[in-house]
């Protein structure tokens, strides 16, 4: 951009687009502070009333709890499997690396709603419909691409000479992993854990089809309430908290272990 006017116009356009991108989230957070009974933005008066109600609402509490537990278990499994595979692919340099990466990233490219329909039918045939392990398997699958992508990038960045140097100094393979590889992979491990947890926590598409009556996660409960009762302030308050939590994780992730670099 050579002209200053042109540059200013570009900047204005950029700001407008960014606002457009983020406005809904901002609106969600701010309107949760509204004191009135109706969901309004701009809020007329500020209050924490709806946050209190939300946290005391037993149905929502239980679905938040389910989302958290599901998220933690799925994340640990997904990051664990992804790290093992990533380490193998990067250090082992097999000829099938590219094919394997495509496989690991597949859920990003193929439509999850179609997959969920198929999975649902298979689960019904196998009789594991609506069980927690079935749900966990599904969540591990949808978070795997994020974990895999970050861990592959992480191991790609670790200089292999470091591991060679450690070996030459007398470290056995296990000691190399413990003292060199893992500490250096830590930012990646933390990043992928954070992202995988967020993805699992916030998933609607898959969970709404797969989850049985006993395992309704927060987003799914919200979605079904939306369709039956419309929007109410309690839902907004919880939505705001989730969004704030997501933003917090991303900001902390960026500060502590440069989250955005790992993509």
């Amino acid at each position: 951009m050579t002209s200053r006017f042109g540059k200013a116009m570009l900047l204005a356009a950029v700001v407008a687009i960014l606002l457009f991108l983020l406005a809904p989230i901002l609106v969600l957070i701010l309107s949760a502070f509204d004191s009135g009974n109706i969901f309004r933005f701009p809020p007329r008066a500020l209050s924490f009333r709806w946050f209190e109600t939300a946290l005391n609402h037993s149905e929502y509490r239980s679905s938040l709890w389910i989302s958290t537990v599901l998220g933690l278990i799925s994340t640990v499994v997904a990051v664990g499997l992804a790290s093992l595979a990533a380490f193998g692919l990067v250090r082992g340099k097999p000829s099938y690396r590219l094919a394997m990466e495509v496989l690991l990233l597949a859920p990003l490219t193929l439509p999850l709603v179609v997959w969920a329909i198929a999975l649902l039918s298979i689960y019904a045939q196998l009789g594991i419909n609506g069980t927690l392990p079935g749900l966990i398997l599904a969540h591990v699958t949808i978070t795997m691409p994020f974990a895999a992508r970050i861990m592959i990038a992480t191991f790609d960045e670790i200089d292999p000479n470091l591991e060679a140097a450690a070996k030459s100094l007398g470290a056995s393979p296990w000691q190399v992993v413990r003292r060199i590889t893992l500490p250096l992979a830590r930012p990646g491990l933390l990043s992928s854990t954070a992202i995988a947890f967020l993805v699992s926590f916030n998933d609607v598409v898959v969970t709404t089809l797969i989850a049985g009556a006993g395992w309704i996660t927060f987003p799914v409960r919200t979605f079904s309430r939306l369709r039956t009762e419309g929007i109410d302030p309690t839902t907004i308050a919880i939505g705001a908290m989730i969004v704030a939590f997501t933003i917090l994780v991303i900001v902390l992730g960026q500060r502590l272990f440069q989250l955005s670099r790992r993509f």
């Binding site: 140097a165 070996k167 100094l169 060199i180 500490p183």
Partner: protein, 361 residues
């Protein structure tokens, strides 16, 4: 046993992805020697180093260190130190922790280990109270730490992969002398991989010149310089390296140059005296500092001066003859007044190679 060498490499062969990286390598290194593996990139020198370190397995062959067969030992059981071109210092550990790493692996007690760390850092000229992270140091300092880390464990063999390549030219000169001094003080058997012949000549007891996976010649630097086994070595070693002039024997007394010129040199340089049959295509190695320039006389090669470089202490004259550019080193005080000169090789048995195979005649 005086006969058995400290490090013994026998028939080591390695191929990958279909091509042969090392062809049946044999090498003996005496205890306490400083040996360089010298060659252009792709010659296999780094591969050989990796195999010595245990980071790569040879397809065939045997390696013995101090009498023990280490061929199948993994790197963490061989008593070796390794210094990398990019230093490979552990970024998440401090300098001292880096140097201590090998000692921790040996299970050395804290007090003794810290003392050893102090010694090693002092030996490479660093202040032992350096408590920073590797990323805060300069390249030269990082390299010293890498060396300190490798020698802290008092290895039986020190392997260095192009340790000076990442340093700037000035530092390289200084550090290569320090490397030699360090070696002399510690007495550790050292093998250094390099593509820089000046570095190898300056530091080594013996140099193994490699090309295309083979060792062409394994001699002391002086021998390599004065009696190169192949034309490649002659044209590679030296600063500047030897001039290689193509000529064909045309009769017992004369040579024909590439541009058709006929040259009748002194008797000791003639084809007859060197076993070159008429019609044999050869290369003669002419060292820049052994050639003299004159305007008259018998047996000289007519040449035309293309350029003269002033080097402070001497001059480099670049002249064309027989279709080839020849470089001559003369004293700075000698003046070149006319572009047409005569080049005189030294009056002794020449270094001649077969033009097709590059081997010594």
């Amino acid at each position: 046993m005086t006969g058995s060498p400290y490090l013994r490499i026998r028939t080591v062969q390695k191929s990958y992805k279909g091509s042969v990286a090392l062809h049946d390598i044999d090498l003996d290194v005496e205890q306490g020697a400083f040996v360089s593996l010298l060659g252009p990139s792709g010659c296999g020198k780094s591969t050989l180093l990796q195999i010595l370190a245990g980071l790569m397995e040879p397809d065939r062959g045997q390696i013995q260190l101090d009498g023990a067969d280490i061929t199948n030992l993994p790197p963490w059981r061989r008593n070796i130190g390794l210094v990398f071109q990019n230093y490979a210092l552990f970024p998440h550990l401090s300098i001292r922790q880096n140097v201590r790493f090998g000692l921790d692996m040996l299970g050395m007690g804290r007090v003794e280990a810290e003392k050893r760390v102090d010694e090693s850092l002092e030996m490479v000229g660093l202040d032992p109270s350096l408590s920073r992270r590797p990323s805060e140091l300069s390249g030269g300092q990082q390299q010293r730490v890498a060396i300190a880390r490798a020698i802290a464990i008092r290895p039986g063999l020190l392997l260095m992969d192009e340790p000076l390549s990442n340093l700037d030219a000035v530092l390289r000169h200084k550090v290569r002398l320090e490397l030699r001094e360090l070696h002399d003080r510690t007495g550790i058997t050292t093998i250094m991989v390099t593509h820089d012949q000046a570095e190898a000549l300056a530091t080594s007891d013996r140099i193994a010149v490699m090309q295309s996976g083979r060792i062409l010649q394994y001699e002391a630097p002086e021998t390599l310089y004065s009696a190169p086994a192949t034309a490649f070595i002659a044209g590679f070693v030296g600063s500047p390296p030897a001039n290689l002039l193509p000529l064909t024997a045309s009769g017992p007394d004369n040579w024909t140059l590439a541009d058709g010129q006929v040259w009748q040199p002194a008797a000791v340089l003639a084809p007859k005296a060197n076993g070159a049959q008429s019609g044999r295509a050869c290369l003669i190695a002419l060292r820049p500092e052994n050639l003299t320039i004159g305007t008259t006389g018998d047996g000289g090669l007519p040449a035309r001066v293309a350029a003269v470089e002033f080097n402070g202490g001497d001059r480099l004259v670049h002249a064309e003859t027989g279709g080839t550019r020849i470089t001559v080193r003369i004293a700075a005080s000698q003046a070149i007044t006319s572009p047409d000169i005569l080049l005189f090789p030294p009056q002794q048995a020449p270094v001649l190679f077969d033009a097709a195979t590059g081997t010594r005649l």
